[in-house]
């Protein structure tokens, strides 16, 4: 690979990592703040992608579709928290996994009923279609740049929100001492409902904006869930900073692994190794630093 190709792959790796961050951050927040393991998180990503596909079709406007989709996901989050999740805060993790697994099955069936099992694609919005010419024969798609930018902005907003807003204070207080937070007059249940809905919207939003660069297919939720869990474990359960670092790490490893080649006995072993290497990294982290890179600081 020459320098430009490496640069392009690095950009792709970072972009994939940032997108992973967006999904993983919701997962890690819901775990870190409410102590709930939500394995249905990937379903929201999948729902987001399918929503993007139908909304863009009906509304014929990417931006409006994005807005409607995120609002719908937020409402879905509020309802799900009220119907299921709020009963899980004081339960053990096994019960949380069972209930949210139930949600996966429900959403997967609903998806099949509503949208069918076909693979779809979503067009890149006209405004962001095209590429930036880097050299004579190398170009980088504008949409991917935009996507990375959006992820960075959301990451900054999230960090700022937790560290410097009143809501952020409530969240941190609730994590430190839930009873005391209530005893100060804070309706922590409402805060949690909001956070859960925010997490659902984030996952759906990630699914929506990634739809134009990947395809929309039934198994996309579980695929992203597994990688997101790897990210969350590497970064430290509950840590936003950790999710960012780990997501970039996983994004780069995965992307470079797929394009490198190393022939052994005429077989290129790298693509397979790449898939494995992130799990190997997770295993190493679990053995030597089980709390993750950043432990549980935001």
């Amino acid at each position: 690979m020459d320098a430009f190709a490496i640069f392009i792959q690095a950009m792709n790796g970072i972009q994939y990592g940032l997108l992973l961050f967006l999904v993983a951050s919701g997962l890690t927040l819901i775990f870190g703040i409410m102590g709930v393991i939500n394995i249905a998180h990937g379903s929201f990503y999948m729902i987001g992608a399918y929503l993007a596909w139908s909304l863009m079709g009906w509304l014929e406007n990417f931006w409006f579709g994005l807005f409607v989709g995120v609002a719908a996901a937020f409402l879905l989050g509020l309802v799900l928290e009220w119907m299921f999740i709020r009963f899980l805060y004081d339960r053990d993790h096994l019960q949380q996994v069972l209930v949210t697994y139930g949600l996966i099955l429900i959403f997967s069936e609903l998806r099949s009923v509503i949208w069918g099992d076909d693979v779809h694609s979503v067009a890149i919005p006209a405004l962001l279609d095209g590429s930036i010419q880097l050299t004579e024969n190398l170009a980088y798609p504008i949409y991917r740049l935009w996507l990375s930018g959006v992820c960075v902005v959301i990451a900054i907003l999230m960090y700022f929100g937790i560290q410097h807003t009143r809501l952020g204070m409530m969240i941190r207080a609730g994590e430190s001492d839930r009873e005391m937070t209530k005893a100060l007059g804070i309706n922590i249940g409402l805060v949690y409902r909001f956070i859960f809905a925010l997490g659902v919207s984030l996952a759906a939003f990630s699914g929506m904006i990634s739809a134009p660069i990947s395809s929309v297919f039934p198994g996309m939720g579980s695929q992203v869930l597994i990688v997101s869990f790897v990210v969350v474990v590497i970064g430290g359960l509950g840590s936003i900073k950790g999710a960012m670092v780990a997501a970039l790490l996983v994004g780069l490893i995965d992307t470079f692994g797929k394009v490198m080649s190393l022939d052994i006995f005429g077989i290129n072993i790298f693509p397979e190794m790449a898939g494995m290497s992130i799990f190997a990294l997770m295993a190493l982290i679990l053995i030597f630093r089980p709390q993750g890179i950043f432990g549980k600081e935001y």
Binding site: M169, E179, K182, A183, L184, N187, G189
Partner: protein
């Protein structure tokens, strides 16, 4: 004016199968300071948690401002004017001192504002020097000051202090009693749990003694000192 703020009637509470409160009756009037005493494990903290809705009662009734609190969640009770300084202080360790305070600050029942951020800092000058420190960097005395200051910032009508001076050096404990005195003079009712029976009976209008989930003594404070043999049995002093 001495009307009732809190009234507990025949309160029973359980943790799982263990029966902890066995029919507690207690009344706190407006502006009154009640001292609650008893040996370890007699149910004082449980009583407080029931009052705050943090532990659910098995039977009996709790009235706050003449309203049954049965269906009210903790945060609503707090907003109705109950402030809580728990045993172990309950400081948010991942928030700075300043954040601990401003998170709590609000006007009280019917919009009353007596305690402001500035007034709390003036009352606890030591906190002023530590505003940007994290909650976990404070000494025990500073933590208790923060916990009390935080409670006052909610502008309560009833301040509940569980183990008010536990683990504090005598001089610091004196500071805390001084603050409680100021609170008392401002007309806020208080329910104070502490092992120091002399200090409690001195500051309270009424003393209440609990033994095994029951109230065995409830009278004006000077009366308690007239019963040395009972004190020995109930409190081990």
């Amino acid at each position: 004016m001495l009307n009732t703020l809190v009234k507990l009637t025949d309160l029973h509470a359980h943790y799982g199968l263990s029966h902890v409160l066995h029919g507690v009756n207690l009344e706190i009037k407006r502006g009154e300071t009640v001292g609650l005493m008893g040996r370890n494990g007699m149910g004082k903290t449980t009583l407080i948690k029931c009052l705050l809705g943090l532990v659910s009662i098995s039977s009996g009734e709790i009235q706050f401002r003449e309203q049954n609190t049965k269906t009210l969640p903790t945060h609503t009770l707090a907003r109705g004017g109950i402030a809580y300084v728990p045993e172990g202080r309950g400081i948010f360790k991942n928030l700075s001192v300043k954040e601990n305070l401003i998170l709590a600050a609000r006007s009280g029942f019917e919009g009353r504002i007596e305690w402001t951020y500035d007034r709390v800092l003036d009352s606890f000058p030591r906190l002023k020097e530590r505003l940007m420190h994290g909650g976990q960097q404070l000494s025990g005395g500073e933590q208790q000051m923060l916990s009390i200051g935080r409670a006052l910032l909610t502008n309560p009508d009833l301040l509940i202090l569980d183990e008010a001076t536990e683990g504090l050096a005598p001089l610091i404990a004196q500071d805390i009693w001084g603050i409680i005195k100021v609170v008392q003079e401002s007309g806020i009712s208080a329910l104070i749990v502490d092992k120091n029976f002399k200090a409690v009976s001195k500051i309270s209008n009424r003393c209440v003694v609990m033994v095994k989930g029951k109230i065995v003594f409830d009278d004006v404070s000077p009366k308690l000192i007239e019963h040395p043999e009972a004190l020995k049995n109930w409190l081990g002093v």
